[in-house]
Symmetry: C2
Subunit: 201 residues, 2 copies
């Protein structure tokens, strides 16, 4: 090893991050070495800060800095539809849905999906809290936006069986062909779903 | 913006790093949010530590933690050839050369390359210090390993003119086809160099 040990240590730390290989880590570390100390300190402080300040929203379990996340705070002042709850597995799924600009309700983060293989059952998710919200908030519709894979589908089916008897409308994200994709390269399951869910023009 | 502000701040900091786009930044930040606080602190501390402890080697201007970098320290105790100096533009070039395992001399980092367009002249590089070393260390050979581009070639020609009169052997990295590459996809300059530098079998 011909590297200064503090450089080697930082390389190791960066290589541990998802999607960062040895070459990317090296590029970043040399870039940081050439930067102004204050700029580099900003990065380090932002990292510590995020762990110190971020907690879970009391209502929807999204990441939040206070009692409520920004979306729940907006819902409380009437800027978003409180009667429509979109159920997702992880906070990052909220970011993906918000990016579409198509949804103006509130969210509920389950904290995972039912997966017997990984030992995750309904009790490990925030399902009890969701049912409590449906009751307390007079929810009109629950949109199940868990991932379109085995665990996500299982969770969606489980939840729809729980929620339907409460006389709340339950919906699911549509499956089908990705927009801009080629039929030729579509996987057979997505294409099958697209045929099944075909609509009249 | 529906993101907690400390998360947004960290996203912005990561997006500023080279090779990290919005999606990679998001992946890293959510990964960090799920980690143990101590693990995350390690990363932040390693970042601060590297800026606090890393300086330039007194002899070769590589990154170092003490007076001398690890390579110069090894050279001083006779583990590396002190009479052979490889001249590079940046410390990261040392890492690339060390990775080959083909070189066992010492290095000299210029801190850039001559580039009139960017206003970088010979006086902005550590050329004076290099000439001083050649004199003090009784150097037998200088291998010019600046990049094979306009600035690197200019710097190599400039240095060879300075050093040759001192009766020190001056060599340059060979140019040619990258090993494992296809003739079909080789750029014409590299292929031209490969023909020019052809050798007898």
């Amino acid at each position: 090893m011909t590297q200064a040990s503090s450089i080697q240590r930082l390389l190791n730390e960066f290589e541990r991050l998802p999607g960062i290989g040895p070459k990317s880590a090296q590029r970043i570390v040399y870039w940081l070495l050439n930067r102004d100390p204050s700029q580099v300190k900003n990065l380090a402080e932002a990292i510590i800060d995020v762990k110190d300040t971020v907690r879970f929203c009391n209502r929807c379990f999204n990441y939040a800095e206070g009692e409520l996340c920004k979306i729940c705070a907006d819902t409380q002042i009437g800027k978003r539809d409180a009667a429509l709850i979109c159920v997702v597995s992880e906070p990052r799924d909220i970011t993906a849905i918000e990016r579409t600009g198509e949804f103006n309700g509130s969210y509920h983060v389950l904290g995972g999906a039912i997966s017997p293989m990984d030992g995750i059952g309904p009790d490990d998710l925030t399902i009890k809290e969701l049912l409590h919200r449906l009751d307390a908030e007079k929810t009109a519709e629950v949109l199940l936006a868990t991932n379109p894979n085995v665990e996500g589908e299982t969770t969606a089916i489980y939840l729809s069986r729980l929620i339907k008897p409460l006389e709340v409308k339950v919906t699911r994200l549509a499956s089908g062909l990705p927009v801009g994709g080629d039929l030729e390269f579509a996987d057979e399951i997505s294409l099958g779903r697209a045929i099944e869910s075909r609509y009249e023009l």
